[in-house]
Symmetry: C2
Subunit: 124 residues, 2 copies
């Protein structure tokens, strides 16, 4: 065994934390794992918008948009500011968009790879 007692203790104390952190990590990722929320986040990347603007942009029922926004809000990925009777939503962190862009690029590459594979095997 190569771990000191101190290190073992530290690890055993960190393990549950590490697990919890991974759950939080996954919780944030879940927030970007839905087509509607992806669309919402890209809408907000341009500038803050209020709910009706988002409803019009996405052409989805207001309740649906509102529920998805709530989920993003609960995770602190967007924040809100009231102006008159409108509630404006703002993207809290640009890196969320960066992560989405990365995954989108990965997706494009996978699609292209599959397409050229289909060409070769004659599946087109």
């Amino acid at each position: 065994m190569r771990l000191s007692e101190y290190e073992k203790l530290r690890i055993s104390m960190d393990k549950p934390q590490a697990q919890e952190l991974r759950i939080m990590h996954a919780t944030l990722c879940k927030a970007i794992a839905d087509p509607t929320r992806i669309a919402l986040l890209y809408e907000l990347s341009e500038n803050p918008k209020h709910v009706n603007q988002l409803v019009e942009a996405l052409k989805l029922p207001q309740a649906t948009v509102s529920r998805h926004l709530k989920m993003l809000r609960e995770r602190s990925m967007v924040y809100t500011r009231r102006e008159g009777s409108y509630v404006f939503y703002t993207l809290a962190d640009q890196r969320i968009l960066d992560a989405l862009d990365l995954m989108r690029a990965v997706k494009s590459d996978i699609l292209n790879r599959h397409r050229s594979l289909a060409e070769v095997t004659g599946d087109l």
Copy 2:
């Protein structure tokens, strides 16, 4: 109306595609939205590993690991190579890890923000 007929046609043809692309985008994001798969991907970031190595690293039932690996494989996020009776899994795209790191950084910032907020309001 400012769109030419050609542009309108292009858009109407692209719309369903755009929706489909967003679904694929979300499908890839779903793959990183689970604590177990996050752990798997970080394990594979170091170097390719076979299933038993992953089972030992994560201390989870082999069936569980295998099923999560299947999901990543079906989405082309990892690929496999057989060596004797072992199947080695390799991370297909480093950007998947980059995206995970971004989301992890966002998560840390959110946690810290909440912690310092708790200090101020005396919730610690």
